[in-house]
C-alpha cells in the first residue's frame, strides 16, 4: 500500500508539470487579451510547483527540487500580489517548466545533472524576481473591521485574495449553512458551486456547535459586487444565512444594511421536487459537481503494460473461441444437428457475445482523449513562432476525440513535425503576409474527429501552400523524376515522403534537421494509419492523417494465395470481386482490370512474395480484393477468399521486419500462424515498381 517507486514519482511529476503548463497557457491568453488574470489559475500553478518541490525532495531529486522551490517562491509572490506577471516573466516560466521536464526525465533515466545546469535555471528565475515588490496591502485588512476570528484561519494566500476583493470594492459576505453529517459532502459542494456565480469564494471553514450533534455549520467567506438581496435570491433553495460583514463600494448602502440577516427556512431536500424552472439547472449543476468530486477519488492510474496484458489475454480468448467454433462446425458435419451440437452452438454464441463485450470494455479503458497532447503542441507552436519571429495562432478542435493510448503516445512527434513544417515552410513572415493582404498572424488549425472506425486528424495552415516548382526541381536533381516528365500534383506530393527529400536550402533551426516527412509517414504507417497532403498555392496546405481507433484487435479478411494464407485488415478493404484470368489486361507493362470505367492496377500476391503456386490450369477463377483509400487503390489478386475473422496482430520479430508488405503475424483458429498484410506498404510497392520511381521508394525501410 505504501510502496512508492520511481514510476509513481514520474507520473505525478508529469501531471504536475502538465498542470503548470496548462495554467501558464491560461495566463498567456489573459495577458495577450489584456483581460483579468484568474486568481485561481495562479494559485493552482503555485500549488503544482509546491507539490513538485515536495515530491522531488522525497525522491532524492534534491537539485531538481531546488529549481521547483525557486519556481514556487516566484509563483507564491505572484499569487500574493507581490510580483506582477509580465510577458517576459511568462516566457521564463514556460522555459523553466520545459527544462524541468527534461531534467526530470534525464535524471529518471539515471543521467547525472550538472550543477551548472541547475544554477543556470535558478539564475533565469532570479532575474524575474528583480522586479520591484508590489504593495500587498495587508494593512487594509486591519482597517477593514473584519473580525480577528475570521482572519486567524486565513492562509496568506487567502488574505491576499481578501485584500484584492477589498481593493476592488467588493462587499464581503459571510454565508453560513448548516448541513447534517449525513449529507454535507453533497450539499456543501453544491453550495460552493452556486457561490461561484455570486462572486469569489475566499475560504470555507467549519464549526460544530454544541447541542447540534448531527449537524455541522459551515462559513463561506465570499467577495461579491452583488447586494445582499440579490445573493439571497440566488441562494434560494439552500438553507443559508447571508451576513454582510463589510459593505462594498458598488452595493447601495440602503439596500444592504450591515449585519442584517435573514434565514431561509426551505429545506433543500423537500424543495427539490417542487423547485420548478430552476430545477433542471440546479440538478445539472449538482451532477456536474458530483462528477468532479468523484473523478478525484474514484480514478485509478493503471500502467498501460497491464492493459496490454489484459488485451493480449482477451485476444487469446478470441482465438480459443475461434477454435471452439471450428470444433462445433466439425461436430455438426460429423454428427449432424444433434441436440448436443445445437446446445453447444448456442452456448458458443453466448460466449461470443460476452467476449465481444469484454473486448469492447477493455478497448474503452485504453481510450484517451487526443486533447491530452494539445497543450504540448500549443507550447511548441508558441516556442517555434517565437524562434521564427512569426505570429501564429494555434487552434485545436475535437480534443474529446478518443484514441488508443498507445496511438496517442506515438502521435505527438509526427504531429509536431507537421506543425513545425507549417510554421517553417508554410506560414509566411509577417511582412510578406501583409503584402499579400493576409493578416499578420498566421493560423494553424488542428481538427480531430471520428469517421466510422477511424479517427481523422487534419492540420491546416493559411500559409503559402506547397512550393510545387521547388519540389519538382529538387526531385529532378535527385533523379527521382526526369526534368521533362509531366508529373501530377498528387505524385509530386508523394515525392515529399521519399527518404532524404528536403527542399530546404539550408538547415534551419526548425525543420530540416535531417528528419523528413518519410519518417512521419513511417510513424503513421506503424500505427496502421495513412497520411495525405492537400495544397492550394497561396492559401495554405492541409495534412490529413487517418488512423484506426485501436490497434489491438481488428477484423480481417483471410485469403489464400499459392500455398499460403494471409490476413488483410478489413478496414483497408473496399470490395472484393471474382474475375477470370482473361479479364486481366496489360497496360504499359502493368496488369490491370477495368472496373466501373476505371482501371485498377493489380498486384498478384503469389508473385509478390514469390510463393510456390498450386498446380493450375490457368482457367481457375481468381479473386481481386480492392484496397486503398481515395486515389491510391490497388487490386490484390488471390486464389481464394476464406472468410472474415477477428485477429490480434502480433509483431513478427526482427527477422521479418524488413519484409515489405507485412504488418505482422496472427494466429488462426486452427493455431496456424499467418502473415497480416500491410496494405499501404503494398500500394507503395506497386506504385514504386513502375518505371524510374523505383529507386527512390525502394529504399524505404519500414520500421
Amino acid at each position: 500500500m505504501s510502496e512508492i517507486n520511481l514510476s509513481d514519482f514520474i507520473a505525478e511529476a508529469e501531471e504536475l508539470l502538465d498542470r503548470l503548463n496548462h495554467g501558464l497557457l491560461d495566463l498567456d491568453r489573459s495577458i495577450k487579451s489584456d483581460s483579468r488574470q484568474d486568481p485561481s489559475v495562479v494559485n493552482d500553478i503555485f500549488r503544482a510547483a509546491h507539490s513538485l518541490k515536495g515530491i522531488c525532495g522525497m525522491f532524492g531529486f534534491g537539485e531538481v527540487g531546488e529549481i521547483a522551490h525557486k519556481l514556487e517562491d516566484i509563483l507564491d509572490r505572484l499569487r500574493l500580489g507581490k510580483l506582477k506577471l509580465t510577458a517576459y516573466g511568462l516566457d521564463v516560466l514556460f522555459a523553466v517548466t520545459e527544462e524541468l521536464r527534461k531534467i526530470i526525465s534525464r535524471k529518471a533515466g539515471g543521467e547525472p545533472i550538472s550543477p551548472e545546469e541547475i544554477k543556470e535555471l535558478k539564475n533565469k528565475l532570479s532575474q524575474m524576481e528583480k522586479a520591484k515588490e508590489e504593495d500587498t496591502g495587508i494593512g487594509l485588512l486591519k482597517q477593514s473591521g473584519i473580525s480577528g476570528e475570521i482572519l486567524a484561519v486565513l492562509t496568506e494566500y487567502e488574505e491576499h485574495r481578501l485584500v484584492e476583493n477589498l481593493k476592488e470594492g467588493m462587499g464581503i459576505y459571510q454565508i453560513s449553512a448548516d448541513f447534517s453529517l449525513a449529507d454535507f459532502d453533497r450539499g456543501l459542494p453544491e453550495l460552493q458551486d452556486r457561490l461561484k456565480d455570486v462572486g469569489e469564494l475566499i475560504t470555507t471553514s467549519a464549526s460544530a456547535e454544541p447541542g447540534k450533534e448531527n449537524s455541522m455549520t459551515f462559513y463561506l467567506l465570499v467577495g461579491s459586487a452583488q447586494s445582499q438581496e440579490d445573493i439571497e435570491a440566488q441562494l434560494e433553495g439552500h438553507l443559508v444565512t447571508v451576513n454582510l460583514i463589510k459593505p462594498g463600494k458598488q452595493a447601495k448602502a440602503g439596500k444592504s444594511a450591515p449585519a442584517k440577516s435573514k434565514t431561509k427556512t426551505r429545506d433543500p431536500e423537500k424543495a427539490e421536487p417542487s423547485a420548478g424552472d430552476a430545477e433542471g439547472e440546479a440538478e445539472a449543476q449538482g451532477q456536474e459537481e458530483t462528477a468532479t468530486v468523484r473523478s478525484l477519488s474514484r480514478t485509478v492510474r493503471v500502467d498501460i503494460g497491464r492493459l496490454d496484458e489484459l488485451m493480449n489475454i482477451v485476444g487469446e480468448l478470441v482465438l480459443s473461441k475461434n477454435v471452439i467454433t471450428q470444433l462445433i462446425e466439425k461436430l455438426r458435419n460429423q454428427l449432424g444437428f444433434t441436440e448436443l451440437a445445437i446446445d453447444l452452438y448456442k452456448v458458443n454464441r453466448n460466449l461470443e457475445r460476452k467476449l465481444q463485450e469484454l473486448q469492447q470494455g477493455v478497448l474503452e479503458v485504453r481510450m484517451v482523449p487526443i486533447g491530452q497532447i494539445y497543450d504540448k503542441l500549443r507550447r511548441n507552436v508558441r516556442k517555434l513562432a517565437r524562434e521564427t519571429g512569426k505570429e501564429v495562432e494555434f487552434i485545436a478542435e475535437g480534443g474529446e476525440t478518443e484514441l488508443d493510448k498507445l496511438i496517442i503516445e506515438d502521435l505527438a512527434d509526427p504531429l509536431m513535425h507537421i506543425i513545425r513544417n507549417s510554421i517553417d515552410h508554410g506560414i509566411e513572415p509577417k511582412k510578406e503576409r501583409k503584402k499579400l493582404g493576409k493578416s499578420e498572424q498566421g493560423q494553424i488549425l488542428l481538427r480531430a474527429f471520428q469517421r466510422g472506425n477511424h479517427v481523422v486528424i487534419e492540420i491546416s495552415d493559411d500559409g503559402a501552400g506547397l512550393d510545387l516548382m521547388r519540389i519538382r526541381k529538387k526531385a529532378a536533381e535527385m533523379g527521382l523524376i526526369s526534368p521533362e516528365a509531366e508529373v501530377k500534383q498528387e505524385d509530386l506530393i508523394q515525392i515529399l515522403f521519399t527518404p532524404g527529400f528536403s527542399t530546404a536550402e539550408k538547415v534551419s533551426e526548425i525543420s530540416g534537421r535531417g528528419v523528413g516527412l518519410d519518417v512521419v509517414k513511417n510513424n503513421i504507417a506503424a500505427l496502421s494509419g495513412a497520411i495525405d497532403i492537400e495544397s492550394t498555392p497561396g492559401q495554405g496546405a492541409k495534412v490529413i492523417i487517418t488512423l484506426p481507433i485501436t490497434l489491438a484487435i481488428i477484423q480481417a479478411l483471410i485469403v489464400e494465395a499459392g500455398t499460403e494464407t494471409f490476413a488483410i485488415p478489413l478496414n483497408a478493404v473496399s470490395s472484393g470481386l471474382s474475375i477470370k484470368p482473361q479479364d486481366i489486361k496489360t497496360i504499359e507493362g502493368r496488369e490491370v482490370i477495368e472496373q466501373r470505367e476505371r482501371t485498377l492496377p493489380l498486384l498478384r500476391l503469389e508473385r509478390f512474395f514469390r510463393l510456390n503456386s498450386k498446380s493450375k490450369t490457368g482457367e481457375e477463377e481468381l479473386y481481386v480484393v480492392t484496397v486503398g483509400i481515395a486515389e491510391r487503390r490497388l487490386g490484390i489478386v488471390v486464389d481464394r477468399l476464406l472468410g472474415r475473422q477477428d485477429i490480434v496482430i502480433k509483431s513478427v520479430g526482427k527477422v521479418l521486419t524488413g519484409l515489405k508488405g507485412v504488418a505482422g503475424a496472427t494466429e488462426l483458429g486452427d493455431q496456424r500462424t499467418i502473415l497480416v498484410l500491410d496494405v499501404l506498404g503494398l500500394i507503395e510497392e506497386a506504385a514504386a515498381s513502375i518505371g524510374s520511381r523505383r529507386m527512390g521508394a525502394g529504399a524505404v525501410n519500414v520500421s
Binding site: S2, S51, Y157, E158, A206, P210
Partner: protein, 140 residues
C-alpha cells in the same frame, strides 16, 4: 494510558506525500491504523467517524485549508485534545505563526526528515519502536 493501537488521520492533497508519510510509519503498521483524507473537507468527514489519536495536516489544501482544520479541531471539545502535526511545503512565516497560534502541536516544513517525523509520532503517541528499528534521530 498505554494503548496498543492508534488511529492517525492524514489530511494532505498530494497522494505521494501521503504515501511517503505512510511509508515512514510502515514499521508500526501493526500498531497503527492510518486514515487518509485528500482534502480538509474529507478530513472533516472522517473526524466524527473514528476516534483519532493523532492528526497530521497540510496547510494549503483545496476547499477547507489546514488552518481551518486546526481551528475546527481545537475549538471542538471532542477533538481538542488530539495532537496535531502540520506537515507543509509552505514556508510562509505568517502561516506558521497562525498555525501554532491556533494550536498546532508541531510544525514541519517539507522536505520532511523521515527520522524527525517518525520520532515526533513516537513522542506524541507513546509508541514503542522496534528494537532493531532506526532508533537514532533527534526528538524535538
Amino acid at each position: 494510558m498505554v494503548k496498543d493501537f492508534y488511529q492517525i488521520l492524514i489530511a494532505e492533497d498530494s497522494a505521494i506525500t501521503r504515501a511517503f508519510l505512510v511509508s515512514v510509519l510502515e514499521e508500526f503498521s501493526d500498531q497503527l491504523n492510518i486514515i487518509e483524507a485528500a482534502s480538509g473537507f474529507e478530513a472533516l468527514k472522517q473526524l466524527p467517524r473514528e476516534k483519532f489519536d493523532l492528526i497530521i495536516t497540510d496547510i494549503n489544501m483545496p476547499d477547507i485549508n489546514g488552518l481551518e482544520l486546526i481551528n475546527f479541531v481545537r475549538s471542538n471539545p471532542e477533538y481538542a485534545h488530539i495532537p496535531l502535526i502540520v506537515v507543509t511545503t509552505e514556508g510562509s512565516v505568517r502561516d506558521k505563526e497562525k498555525g501554532l497560534a491556533l494550536g498546532a502541536s508541531e510544525y514541519l516544513v517539507k522536505p520532511i526528515d523521515p527520522n524527525l517525523f517518525r520520532n515526533l509520532i513516537i513522542k506524541h503517541l507513546g509508541l514503542e519502536p522496534e528494537p532493531s528499528g532506526r532508533a537514532d534521530g533527534d526528538i524535538t
